[in-house]
Amino acid sequence: MNKVKNVLLVGVGGQGIILASKILSAGLISAGYDVKMSEVHGMAQRGGSVTTQIRYGSKVYSPIIGKGQADVIVAFEQMEAARWIDYLRPEGKIIVNDYKIPSAPILIGEREYPKNILDDLKSKANVSLVKGFKLAKELGNVRTQNIIMIGALIEFIDIDGVEWNEILKENIKEKHVDLNIEALTMGKGLLD
């Protein structure tokens, strides 16, 4: 029995995490894996913490994993990286978008956005930083951050035989496809 791989995508509602998971899952299926994916989101349509877990291998049982089990975490937002770091295997990899989204207690001035999250993460885990917001802005659309992050991830997990551009075409509106292909390509080059 081969080892099942666990990927966790974490971020904030509205960042395009569900779409990113869909694209990743479609790629894994096309590579011939059994795939299970689980979405965990709170009550709000907006502003809540969102995670998806993707598990792939020759046969997957549980759709979810526990703490200390993720091979890779992709955090679309800094504080979410801090929130979910205990799900990472001690020898795992966390790819962090350096973007910050303040939550309600921060917005109303009750709390301050935590400082030095990245230093704290680097002291305990294998971290790769992606300047997602800056790069997406250079591409001309900040909403492509999710695909840049997915690009970085698929380069890291290194799966053979997946036509990622085709998968983007199947899952993204035609007029945005070219931009997203660019975003994915850009993401792929980031972790070198």
Partner: protein, 590 residues
């Protein structure tokens, strides 16, 4: 070809492939997407019913007419539908009928985590518990065969992790199932006491036959591996158990869990040295198996509360701790759900939050978030519809005991149609004087924008008559009804103050479309939805933080700059502009 489907999508596909022609539901997480996906099949008549009781009764009627039917709801929805459920087991079906209970262990979006497997036992229904998407589809198909062969409604019990997880599913074609002929059969379908007594005896006979089926069906399977450990499990808990034990234990996987396969359980138990029952929430299987005189280990190690996962099993049964990275709690601030920027409920709750000596009884919907800081404007929330009736009870208790408090019940439009109206009738009939505020945002908001009797469209996308809430309230005898735009704070304030002074029942309808709703051109014109964002003239901000009291997620505050409005999030609802005591919030470009 295999497709990646959620359990909910798999239910819809299963219903389609089984030749179902009628499906009804009331939206509720985690069950909502079942009907949303069923409605994509044009061969199936599908509807949002005003509540779960009605949805089940529609499915019952369709079944008696001879069609294969489906009713879907979340776990607490079954409580609403419990009345017809129990008698339906007596009458049995004509066309097969499956009732879906989507339970929510861990309470991802619910007010309790009841285990509805007990409903199968209490109401005497056949019960199926699939453990992934493929099984969910297969079990729906088998469920219709069981329902028709054994003349019994089938409870398909799912949990959030089945409903919302995706797995690979092999699709096949739709079975052609003709509608069964309806023949008048008073002793079967008219549950008067005389008929009911006979039906009960008949039901017990059917359950004996179903137990025989349970012992023989492939839905209950034994996987022999190492016999030192035996595991009995069902639903998603089976997947967690399999993940942990793999080939190191033998499994009795139960897919058909009421009536239980007692013979199969006995045989399995007699072959293994140590027997675990691994199940989420209540000891439903464990209690039954122990009652058979079999020694098992279960809830003394597996928690009774919260969602189960492989780690909990690993730690509690195998005593294996997983090495993990510790998170730094100082680096983590909560991300509670908030009402959206521009949410029309915000204006109302802002005004209500300023009222002293007023108790606000709440309800289930986006507006439940009015209970969160900084608005904190809600005293109770029990279940759908309870805002009005619990508010009435609170009010009467205060009156009788000479306590001076005014009560305001807040309820959404969809929830009002669901089960608010009966409470309002109660207030009028029993001479209450509480204020009922119906928050009409023109859609069912919390579950993701489903149509309801007030929106003018059906689930199938057809135009429909719109129920006029004002006229409805008038017709049951409410004398004082006001409609306000909740984003207009002075208008809203005035309405609340006037209503609080009355000693008769009153209704305030706050009418304004949900900010996330796709609006029609007509709505854009009627409500002036084409708004410009607001901006703080930061050099003039006095840092009084008054605008933060609205709880709008588009507004943030920095000690050196004062209030800042995120132009990308702001939709120009103008609530903060009305709150600012120093008039430093302006419209962009003005």
């Amino acid at each position: 070809m295999k497709k990646l489907l959620t359990g909910n999508e798999a239910v819809a596909r299963g219903a389609y492939e089984s030749g179902v022609t009628l499906a009804a539901a009331y939206p509720g997480t985690p069950s909502t997407e079942i009907l949303e996906n069923v409605s994509k099949y044009k061969e199936i008549y599908s509807e949002w019913s005003p509540n779960e009781k009605v949805a089940l009764e529609v499915a019952i009627g369709g079944s008696i007419a001879g069609a294969r039917t489906l009713a879907a709801m979340k776990h607490v929805g079954i409580n609403v539908a419990a009345d017809p459920l129990f008698t339906f087991a007596y009458t049995g079906v004509n066309g097969g009928c499956i009732i879906i209970s989507a339970d929510d262990p861990g309470m991802h979006s619910s007010q309790n985590e009841q285990d509805n497997r007990y409903y199968a036992k209490a109401a005497k229904l056949a019960m199926l518990e699939p453990s992934d998407s493929q099984e969910t589809k297969d079990f729906v198909k088998e469920g219709y065969r069981i329902s028709e062969e054994y003349n019994i409604p089938v409870l398909l019990r799912l949990t959030t992790r089945i409903c919302h997880s995706k797995g690979l599913v092999e699709e096949s074609n739709r079975e052609s199932v003709e509608i069964k002929q309806y023949e008048k059969n008073i002793p079967k379908y008219v549950a008067t006491p005389a008929n009911g007594r006979k039906l009960h005896i008949d039901l017990e006979d059917r359950l004996i036959k179903l137990e025989e089926y349970s012992n023989n069906t492939h839905l209950n399977t034994i996987e022999w591996n190492d016999k030192k450990i035996g595991v009995i499990s069902s639903g998603v808990a089976y997947q967690y158990a399999k993940e942990v034990f793999g080939e190191n234990a033998s499994f009795l996987k139960l897919g058909f869990t009421f009536p239980l396969p007692k013979e199969k359980i006995k045989n399995f138990a007699s072959e293994v040295e140590k027997l675990y029952v691994i199940e989420e929430l209540e000891p439903f299987l464990e209690t039954e198996i122990k009652a058979m005189g079999i020694k098992v280990i279960g809830k003394e190690y597996i928690p009774l509360t919260g969602e189960l996962n492989p780690d909990i099993i690993r730690e509690s049964l195998l005593n294996k701790k997983v090495e993990k990275i510790n998170r730094n709690e100082e680096m983590i601030i909560g991300r509670p759900p908030t009402m959206c920027a521009g949410c029309p409920h915000r204006g109302l709750f802002y005004e209500l939050s300023k009222k002293k000596n007023v108790v606000v009884t709440g309800d289930i919907g986006c507006y439940t978030l009015g209970s969160a800081p900084p608005l904190s404007t809600m005293d109770t929330c029990i279940c759908m519809g309870s805002s009005i009736s619990a508010g009435h009870g609170f009010n009467k208790a205060c009156e009788v005991n000479g306590v001076d408090k005014k009560v305001v019940g807040v309820i959404g439009d969809s929830t009002f149609f669901h089960s608010g109206i009966t409470g309002l009738i109660d207030i009028v009939y029993n001479k209450g004087n509480s204020v009922t505020i119906i928050l009409d945002n023109r859609i069912t908001g919390m579950t993701g924008h489903q149509e309801n009797p007030g929106t003018g469209y059906t689930l199938m996308g057809e135009e429909a008559p719109q129920i006029d809430i004002t006229k409805l309230c008038e017709s049951i005898g409410v004398k004082d009804i006001k409609t306000v735009n909740p984003l207009d704070l002075s208008e809203t304030k005035k309405a609340i103050e006037e209503s609080l002074k009355l000693d008769v029942p009153s209704v305030i309808i706050t009418k304004y479309p949900c900010v996330l709703k796709k609006s029609t051109q007509e709505e854009i014109e009627d409500y002036g939805l084409d708004r410009k964002a607001c901006v703080v003239e930061s050099t003039e901000c006095r840092k009084c933080k008054m605008c933060l009291k609205s709880g709008c997620p588009a507004i943030s505050f920095e000690q050196d700059k004062g209030s800042i409005i995120d132009e990308n999030m702001c939709v120009g609802c103008d609530v903060c502009l009305q709150i600012c005591p120093f008039d430093v919030i302006k419209k962009v470009g003005e």
